[in-house]
């Protein structure tokens, strides 16, 4: 049963590798939500996330020859991650190019940009919780944030994360543990948003 979708995907990839844009666009439609989600988690805003997603798909199309079987999703995640990471590094080198960094930018912010799911029914505790988590993720350094997103949000294995981020598995382990501790500490401020079962408080249980 899982064979057919996989075969279909491999067929689409082969066609795209032969230059079929239609075949590639089928893959784009299939993966664009995931790609955009990763980009959003890393870039922390919609406009950048959209730009990075588009760039990543263009890059993916041009580098289709570097896909040599295996998980297409992991291959694509790596490209999205690298696209975002390159952009973040580029901005660090040339911080003046970012409008957001300019003094007074906050004043212009006005109403915050519409969040990822701003529909009324989604403005719920769950939505607020996710925003809180996103805030805590954003507070991480780039390297830790990317590892955490790939591992705990995208569900990649250590090996896949290491391949996507271009680091060793040992680095993944240590960065991931530090990122998790940071996010946990950050979320302490949002205890009231956490479901009962997810309470992070550690003191009650001490006898």
């Amino acid at each position: 049963m899982a064979v057919n979708p996989h075969d279909d995907e491999q067929r689409l990839i082969r066609e795209a590798q032969r230059g079929s844009l239609a075949a590639f666009n089928t893959l784009v439609l299939r993966y664009q939500d995931r790609a955009y989600t990763i980009a959003y988690r890393i870039m922390s805003n919609e406009a950048d996330a959209a730009d990075m997603t588009q760039d990543a798909f263009i890059t993916a199309y041009r580098r289709l020859d570097t896909y040599r079987g295996g998980s297409f999703r992991a291959w694509l995640v790596r490209i999205v991650t690298n696209t975002c990471y390159d952009e973040l590094r580029r901005r660090k080198r040339r911080p003046a190019t970012s409008l957001e960094d300019m003094p007074g930018a906050e004043l212009d912010d006005g109403p915050p940009l519409p969040d990822n799911t701003p529909t009324p029914e989604q403005i719920t505790q769950q939505g607020e919780l996710n925003r809180a988590i996103q805030n805590c993720i954003e507070a991480l350094g780039d390297a830790q944030r990317i590892i955490l997103i790939l591992s705990d949000i995208e569900g990649l294995s250590y090996q896949e994360v290491a391949a996507a981020a271009g680091v060793k598995v040992g680095t993944v382990k240590s960065r991931l543990s530090r990122a998790r501790v940071s996010v946990r500490d950050c979320l302490q401020a949002f205890q009231e948003l956490l479901p009962e079962t997810y309470r992070l408080n550690t003191t009650d249980t001490l006898d």
Binding site: V28, A50, S177, R180, V181, V183, R184
Partner: protein, 311 residues
């Protein structure tokens, strides 16, 4: 691995059996560590439940996106074509300048040129009035080296080597030739195969209006040279006159072919110059060739790029 790393790996099932057993023992004995594990596990669960977002639009690609901004190979970029064209212009300009200023003419028309490529080239290349002009027979030297236009073009060069200005204007060439002939006769039969020797540096003459004096001077020099045995030195190998006269001792030998001491010295000193002029001539041709190639490259790459982008 610190506690957090071990707990983190434990959550992900990434510990080895022994590591896991050790940690579980520790957890049994340490409620604080247990609590730490709990909070981290909750954090991971919270992260796991983060929803996948909906893409705000479709990110499907169009031909434009993948073909319009294609990564053109560098040789097909506008930058490359522009640089090639610019470099071509520079090279052609320099190459042309090198050759024009020396009055470059095809060597086919010259007697002995086949055997004397180096001196001829030297002569042609720099336009520096070196004594290398020995290579030309008088008549030709006059007609060839002294086009009035050329003389006008090259004032600076002639200034370069005042001591050698013992040449004569074309009008007096016959006189000069007479001197040369005399020299030939005096120098002996050995020199006869190389009549060019005596026409030495006539080219300079266009530079020197009061050529009458100089002609005499030259004749005297020729006479001196005739007296000098070393004149014979050149006879057997007329084709290599330039090198021979310049390399070994310079003054003495040079004077043998009709130069006074200062002139001879300057000839001797001009060896690097002569060499340089040979190089410069070759360089001029090479520059022209390279310029032509680059120009062609610029045109071809431009055409290819247009074709590529038009697809």
């Amino acid at each position: 691995m610190n506690d957090h790393e071990r707990l983190s790996a434990y959550i992900d099932g990434e510990l080895t059996d022994t590591e896991r057993a050790a940690l579980e023992n520790q957890l049994d004995a340490d409620p604080e560590l247990r609590q730490e594990l709990h909070s981290l596990r909750q954090t991971v669960l919270l992260l796991n439940q983060m929803p996948e977002l909906k893409a705000p639009r479709n990110f499907t690609l169009t031909r434009d996106m993948v073909e319009q901004r294609p990564v053109l190979p560098f040789p097909l970029t506008f930058t490359f074509s522009a640089l090639s064209a610019a470099a071509a212009v520079v090279l052609l300009a320099f190459g042309g300048y090198f050759l024009l200023r020396t009055g470059f003419t095809p060597q086919a028309g010259m007697p002995n040129t086949a055997q004397q490529p180096a001196p001829a080239a030297a002569f042609l290349a720099t336009g520096t009035p070196t004594p290398m002009q020995t290579a030309l027979p008088p008549a030709e030297a006059a007609s060839r080296a002294l086009p009035t236009g050329a003389a006008d073009e090259l004032p600076a060069e002639t200034d370069a080597m005042p001591p050698i200005s013992l040449a004569m204007p074309g009008s007096e060439q016959s006189e000069a030739q007479g001197g040369a002939t005399t020299l030939n006769q005096e120098a002996g039969a050995a020199t006869t195969p190389a009549p060019e020797l005596e026409t030495f540096s006539f080219r300079e003459s266009e530079e020197a209006p009061p050529a009458g004096d100089r002609a005499e001077f030259s004749l005297e020099a020729a006479a001196d040279g005739a007296a000098d045995d070393s004149a014979a030195t050149f006879a057997p190998v007329p084709t290599q006159v330039a090198q021979i006269q310049l390399e070994p001792v310079g003054p003495d030998e040079a004077s043998g072919i009709g130069l006074t001491e200062p002139a001879a010295r300057s000839i001797a000193q001009s060896e690097p110059l002569a060499q340089a002029s040979t190089d410069a001539d070759a360089a001029g041709i090479i520059l022209l060739l390279a310029g032509g190639i680059l120009l062609a490259a610029a045109i071809i790459t431009t055409a290819l790029r247009r074709r590529r982008l038009a697809l």
